[in-house]
């Protein structure tokens, strides 16, 4: 089913090749290579401070690439961040419509689309006129998701957007994403430190070790996302955790920190 990494013009993809990055003297990323195809999900897992967010910023063109290459052939992209990053002076509805406004969608139309997406994500009418300060953490995150999804992007960058959410909302959003990946050919570049989330959503998991950030393992999961049940996820996680390389990536780091602390 999956085609090989393709350079054909008609199917979009995101490709990083021989990507390096440094801040001053510190090397953050070392020789990153991967390809994300349309309708696929790639997760980057790894210890925190391992350059995951830097990689996301480089791929999403929020940071200039200095060494290596990032090719992005997707027509449209959107971001959801770990913190909601809502504009505090705009109401929930205006925040959702912000992404559409940036694309030049007319006012009435974008308000309609924004409200529709808001309801889809479980917000109610009264919430739409509230300012972010009057929304709970979960509701803010819904607004942030709605702002990204309302664009119906081809490529979605997710930077640990589920970490502040309760289980119910997390499940809801994840199944929505899986539905879009399956039916709308959405591609997702997903950063997380939660292996269960990664296993649930990804076609490919890249394990990123820290200092400097480099891919130490690639795991492909063939089974269709919608068919992955609790049993399957559990079993996959155990398989991953049995891998000495992964243990090393996470544990070594844990030991290092302990040494630093003492």
């Amino acid at each position: 089913m999956a085609k090989l990494a393709t350079t054909e013009n008609n199917t979009p993809f995101l490709q990083a090749s021989q990507l390096f990055h440094r801040f001053g003297p510190t090397e953050i990323l070392e020789n990153i290579n991967f390809t994300l195809e349309a309708g696929k999900v790639i997760s980057i897992v790894g210890p925190s401070g391992g350059g995951k967010t830097t990689l996301l910023h480089l791929c999403g063109d929020l940071l200039d690439v200095t060494d290596g290459k990032v090719i992005n052939r997707f027509e449209s992209q959107a971001f959801a961040f770990q913190d909601a990053r809502l504009l505090p002076w705009l109401t929930a509805l205006e925040n959702i419509a912000f992404s559409l406004k940036a694309k030049g969608v007319a006012k009435n139309h974008r308000r309609k689309l924004a409200a529709k997406m808001a309801y889809r994500l479980g917000l109610v009418k009264e919430d739409l006129d509230k300012f972010p300060k009057d929304l709970s953490g979960g509701m803010r995150q819904r607004v942030a998701f709605a702002r990204a999804l309302v664009l119906e992007p081809e490529l979605l960058f997710l930077d640990e957007p589920f970490s502040a959410l309760d289980i119910g909302l997390k499940r809801e959003l994840q199944s929505l994403l899986i539905e879009w990946v399956t039916n709308k050919n959405l591609s997702i570049f997903f950063i997380t430190h939660d292996l269960a989330e990664a296993v649930q959503l990804s076609d490919e998991i890249l394990v990123l070790d820290a200092d400097p950030g480099r891919i130490v393992k690639r795991v492909k999961i063939e089974k269709c996302q919608s068919e992955r049940d609790g049993e399957f996820i559990h079993q996959q996680i155990r398989m991953l955790l049995d891998d000495p390389l992964i243990i090393e990536t996470f544990e070594l780091n844990f030991n290092n920190r302990q040494q630093e602390a003492s």
Binding site: L87, W89, L90
Partner: protein, 260 residues
């Protein structure tokens, strides 16, 4: 604009909500009256005497002339501070070096008491409008400058990344992200600067001009006319309260609804 109609719509209710404040002001007048009963009218004229003196003053053309002169000086000083402070503050905020450099200078300017600036201004400009306006600017400018500087310093960051992630056009970034952010820093600074201007202008006039409310206050003092002095104080307070609560506060409420 939407905000203006909102302000006007809320205005009657806003005004009515002032009764609580008026009640405590009346209680304050009762205490003042008590002070008058204890100390006598020469030291502290009663509120009633003061208001009668105020009424008589208001019949004279002199008072309105003085008020006009003082308001003009305060507004000039405030406007200069506003324009200079906002512009330079934003400019400095965009460069780390400039903001590092400016901080000690601002601290220095703010550290010198306004009364000392008046003396220097008298040496430099003599008994003139310029002395007063200079003193107002030197007192109000740093407040605006610091507000604008902080606003500009905090512009970059997460929200900017967010805006960039949606490829937001520059103009929309200015109107939807930068301007509201800057405004939320600069507007409160303008309000404090206006209050400062009003206080400093009277003080400067008291020492350095032959006209204006400050000068009238000096005259009242030299004549030992405590009722007139109190009346002038009341006028100054009323003007400040009117500007603050009838003009600035409703605007602030409307534009800062989103603040927690």
């Amino acid at each position: 604009m939407n905000a203006i109609t909102n302000i006007l719509k809320e205005f009657p209710r806003y005004l009515w909500s002032g009764w609580g404040a008026i009640a405590s002001l009346f209680l304050f007048l009762a205490v003042w009256d008590l002070g008058n009963q204890i100390n006598g009218s020469l030291t502290l004229p009663s509120p009633k005497e003061t208001f009668i003196a105020l009424w008589q003053l208001m019949q004279t053309a002199q008072l309105w002339q003085d008020v006009q002169i003082t308001v003009e000086r305060a507004l000039w000083g405030f406007l200069i501070s506003l324009v200079l402070g906002t512009f330079l503050g934003m400019l400095a905020g965009n460069f780390v070096t400039a903001s590092m450099m400016s901080r000690p200078i601002i601290t220095l300017i703010m550290g010198v008491p306004p009364i000392a600036w008046i003396v220097l201004a008298l040496i430099w400009f003599g008994m003139s409008d310029e002395s007063v306006i200079f003193t107002v600017v030197i007192a109000a400018f740093p407040i605006v400058f610091v507000g604008a500087l902080q606003g500009a310093r905090t512009l970059e960051g997460d929200l900017n990344d967010m805006a960039n992630s949606f490829q937001t056009p520059l103009w929309m970034k200015l109107t939807d992200v930068y301007f509201p952010h800057m405004f939320s820093y600069v507007f409160p600074a303008w309000i404090s600067a206006l209050g400062m201007s009003w206080k400093v202008v009277v003080m400067a006039e008291l020492l350095s001009t032959p006209d204006g409310i400050g000068a009238s206050l000096a005259v009242a003092r030299s004549h030992f006319d405590s009722a007139a002095a109190m009346a002038l104080v009341v006028i100054m307070v009323i003007i400040l309260l009117l500007i603050e609560y009838l003009l600035l506060e409703p605007i602030k409420r409307e534009v800062e609804q989103w603040r927690s």
